[in-house]
């Protein structure tokens, strides 16, 4: 089976500087792939490249049979990739329900099936659908952000450090939600700061350092790798 998303020898960055050099990765259907690595390794940049947010100077990107290299973000959204930024990922002064409505903005016709799907995934949100998103706790905000991104029924969800600043309890909850989302047939590519926990939960992982691929493998393999442990995971 060919990969849902494959990035081949991608080189690029913001403006002139190349932050990514020859990065290759792929994400299969029904899998959670995590990108870990030290600060400044280009983790978030690698993910933003998928979403058309940086200038690509080499390599190409295939998604679900299409070459999406250089596509504009709004075209990529319509093709089935949704992105949750690390910060400012909700509409604070709009209700939970309105946040979801904005997520489904491009969808023609009735949104009720999409709402049902999100509220089944996040029962907490259904109870508070009229609450302003800005007044929620960090974990709930993350759910709103993911819910917004899932409204368009994407095939691939990109999450930029979804657990940043969350307590361990919420971190576990977000990871569980990621598994639930995957089980509904949505692949997930996420960037994580909490490398150990993330590798333990993801199906596969990539270790990036200085804008280059360093290691690749299943979570367990990477966790067991001595070099990875010493370099990035603090022993």
């Amino acid at each position: 089976m060919s990969a849902l998303l494959s990035m081949d020898n991608l080189t690029g960055g913001y403006g002139e500087a190349d932050i990514l050099q020859d990065v290759s990765m792929h994400v299969d259907q029904d899998e959670i792939v995590v990108i870990v690595g030290p600060n400044g390794a280009g983790k978030s940049t690698a993910m933003k490249s998928v979403f058309g947010l940086l200038t690509i100077r080499g390599g190409k990107m295939l998604f679900d049979g299409d070459d999406i290299t250089g596509w504009a973000p709004n075209r990529i959204v319509q093709r089935g990739i949704c992105y949750v930024p690390q910060v400012d990922n909700i509409f604070r002064e709009m209700s939970i329900h309105e946040n979801l409505e904005m997520g489904g903005f491009l969808k023609k016709g009735d949104l009720s099936a999409a709402y049902d799907r999100i509220y089944t995934l996040f029962p907490d949100l259904k109870e508070r659908r009229k609450t302003m998103a800005g007044s929620l706790s960090g974990g709930q905000r993350q759910m709103v952000a993911m819910g917004r991104a899932l409204m368009l029924d994407p095939k691939l969800l990109l999450l930029d450090e979804p657990t940043a600043g969350l307590s361990p309890k919420y971190m576990e909850q977000i990871f569980q939600i990621c598994r639930d989302v995957r089980d509904t047939g949505v692949a997930i590519l996420l960037v994580e700061q909490h490398a150990k926990q993330a590798l333990a939960f993801a199906d596969r992982g990539y270790v990036l350092a200085a804008g280059k691929n360093r290691h690749e493998g299943t979570g367990a393999e990477l966790l067991a790798d001595r070099e990875v442990a010493e370099m990035f995971l603090g022993g």
Binding site: V77, Q78, P85, M94, M102
Partner: protein, 290 residues
Amino acid sequence: MDFLDLINFYVVPGIVLGSIYAFGAVGITLIFAILRYAHLAHGDLATLGAFIALAVVTSLGFSPLIALPIAIIATAAVAVGIDKVFYDHLRERPKIVTVMASLGIALMVRAVVQVVWGVDTQTYSRGIVRPEDYFGIRIRDRELYTIFAMIVLVGGLQLFLTRSKWGKAMRAMSDNPNLALLSGIDNKKVVMLTWIVAGGLCAASGFFLGYNTELKSMMGWHMLLPMFAAAILGGVGRVEGAVLGGLIVGIAEEMSVLVLPSEYKAAMAFAILLFMLLVRPTGLLKGKVL
């Protein structure tokens, strides 16, 4: 002076003036929130709206209140046009460039008004209107229409912003522009809608100022400061705040005559603006900090 005199001579005119400011302040606050710059041509656009209504009244013989919707539509179209021809090209530049450009537009619009309609004072209809008496409160019909129109138009706008898909898109763009774009909301349409709303409300503001007093080519320019004071007082991005701010500035200007010589009336807006920026820059209803 008894209580009824206070109401009749200061509060009622203050609410009427405040409603006129509110029309402009709502547009200013929306432009601030969605496009993120101070629009200095707002007052002169209001002047244009007032004179378009005058043209309809004098050439077609319509009553002023029928001329109002026509002026609203025409001014909204002019506002959209100005954005397309001028501001749109500056979108990627620092916002201060657009602010300065809007000052130029203000001068241009005023010049057009002066060339077409002259610099003399004009009115929609002549004659003195006696106020009606409602349980001791004296109020003229045109004053009631002004307040009523403000409630209807701003109430309608509020419904549009909270109930309709595109109204929500405008709020989303004001709340978090990056996320709005990531969600696929069409920025261009939102900008156009903002100008339709702001331009239409400008016309209402100028029209009711002319309807209650008289039309002059500088009328809108003189309203610019109180309208900005009202928008900032209410909290930038807050429609209901702009209305509240407009009413407070209007009433404060009228009441200032009680303690200050009337030449200082116009300075009230400036004092309120300064005071708010120093004490509570987010405004009464917690708007954006700029």
